[in-house]
């Protein structure tokens, strides 16, 4: 029984073993521009297993940027296009990415109404995460109840240990994958999270939430968010943002109703048909994003809508750092 993976070559062999399984789709970080993104891989050599996090999160595996909901052939009636995906493996997610999927589960697959498109993809997905050896300068997962070895959302977590990883099986689904890919189960050894470099001093989320709610009418929102361009890069690179629009279009001779990612940072997001907009300024929209993630989501979903991955911090063209806003309105660390 193998319970640890020694060295990078063993990690590649694990991925090769998974890729060799019949009838599976595998996503892993691959090079994209200067960074990395989760995409479908056919061979282990495509995967960037040393990357310290993909620029684009794995959200699109479950909730594609554009997705057909209904389609109508010429002269026909509308048919829905709920997918029936083959078993899918997300290889090399970060613990924060996996936690973001827990959040998306609560949005799309929770409540009275299940989103069948998301649910079908989620049902097919197994998540193998790799714990983080080093936090990036932009990481703040420990302020969002996460951490470099967080298991939430993962089916398997590879915990960094020396030059290799300990295979930690979290779920039955993870056990099944490890069995099929030729790895044994862990012998119960667990890495001490305290031995890991932490992503900054954790913020107290409950206190933060209370202070944020009190700061709703704080006059500083406008000045502190004035440089925001409203470009929405923060929301498009966020692993847990879930907002979408529904639009109709003609596509390849068919009429399709699709949903496409939308952003609360866009001017038209809440503008009503009458022209009235309850959130008319950039400061209103920025405040909404922050309050949604750190206050409203705690109420509606029992967890913050942010996993502290830092992608929005890295992507912002004007260096508007959500952590500084949290500290400005959320009080002392």
């Amino acid at each position: 029984m193998t319970d640890t993976i020694h060295g990078r070559e063993s990690l590649v062999r694990l991925l090769e073993g998974i890729l060799a399984m019949p009838g599976v789709t595998v996503y892993a970080p691959v090079a994209e521009g200067d960074g990395a993104a989760f995409d479908r891989v056919l061979s282990a050599s495509e995967a960037l297993l040393d990357s310290s996090g993909a620029v684009r999160p794995p959200r699109q595996i479950l909730a594609p940027m554009t997705e057909t909901l209904l389609a109508m052939e010429p002269g026909g009636s509308a048919v829905d296009s709920v997918p029936a995906p083959e078993p899918t493996i997300l290889f090399g997610a970060r613990p924060c990415d996996a936690r973001a999927i827990v959040f998306l589960d609560r949005v799309y697959a929770g409540g009275d109404r299940i989103d069948p498109y998301y649910a079908a993809r989620r049902e097919a997905l197994t998540i193998l995460s790799i714990g983080c050896r080093e936090p990036r300068a932009t990481c703040f997962c420990t302020s969002t109840r996460g951490g470099p070895l967080s298991v939430e959302g993962s089916d398997i977590l590879l915990e960094p240990s020396g030059e290799g990883w300990i295979v930690r099986i979290i779920t039955e689904r993870g056990a099944s994958l490890v069995g099929r890919a030729g790895l044994g189960s862990s012998d119960g050894r667990v890495t001490d999270p305290a031995a890991f470099p932490q992503a900054g001093a954790p913020r107290d989320l409950s206190a933060l939430r209370g202070r944020l709610e009190q700061a709703f009418d704080d006059p500083r929102w406008e000045a502190l968010t004035a440089k925001c361009l409203g470009c929405g890069a923060c929301t498009f690179l966020c692993p847990s943002c879930h907002c979408f629009d529904i639009v109709d279009a003609e596509e390849d001779g068919r009429i399709v109703r699709s949903r496409i990612w939308d952003s609360c940072q866009f001017k038209t997001f809440t503008r009503q048909a009458s022209g009235h907009d309850p959130r008319p300024t950039g400061a209103d929209r920025y405040r909404h994003r922050l309050m949604h993630k750190f206050s409203y989501c705690l109420e509606s979903y029992g967890m913050p809508g942010c996993v502290g991955c830092g992608r929005c911090v890295e992507a912002c063209p004007v260096n508007l750092d959500i952590r500084l806003l949290l500290d400005a309105f959320g009080g002392e660390r």
Binding site: V107, R113, P116, C264
Partner: protein
Amino acid sequence: MSNPYAPVPMRVEKSVTETEDGSIRTISLTFPDGTAPFGFVPGQFAELSILGVGEAPFGIASSPMSPDMLDFTIARVGTVTTELHYLEPGESVGLRGPLGNGYPVEGLSGRDLLVIGGGFGFSTLRAFTNYALHPGNRGNFGGITVVYGARNPGLLLYRDDLCDWAARDDMNLVVTVDRADEGWTGMTGTVPAAVEKVKGVKSVLGGRAALVCGPPAMIRYTLPVLADLGLAPADIFLSLEMKMKCGIGKCGRCGIGGSYACTDGPVYSLERLRGLPGEFR
């Protein structure tokens, strides 16, 4: 698993121009053969769509006591509403619903009711009023006073209903217009001013409650009048206009704090609304 994004193809039975300027129409829809009408609560809404054009939310403007035919009152403001205006009897339109919570009809039982609507926001209040006036329901409520205003007489909706209601002796109807025209003999003034004039409504049974829907300015100036009348925030129910899309709490568009107007609303008590972020008060 049933698909909450898949619409039911409804049949257009009639399409009536409501206003003199032609900007608002009411379309009446029936269910396809073999599909049972759904039950609903006044104040709920539905998503109407024409595949290839788009989808938009509209309050159900007819009473649930006549569930076979659903009315939707549509102001022509954009692409989808324009196409909905062009629909002719016999044509098909997609419907997803009923969605949202509706007015708290159980909690309103036994109370004197002030129903206050302005402009196009009157549609679900019309549904509620016809529901409450139904012979099987009328005894469940105390006095009913409807205050309804429009910018000018030509924009008044539901004229047949207004005539019926004016002739009844078991309710009060106050119709006002912001600007009168030559033929107008009724009240002139804003809705909040008209509400001021109905202070004579006496509490008969279990206290009073108000149902309010209209443009933001009307709501802003009506709430202090209701407070003067002695209504507590828990007794005032507002139906909010929001830009809903999915209607099932997924797309994030109509969030008000930790609630979604499409599932937890669109009807909120003022008490609940005051506990939410101050964007919609």
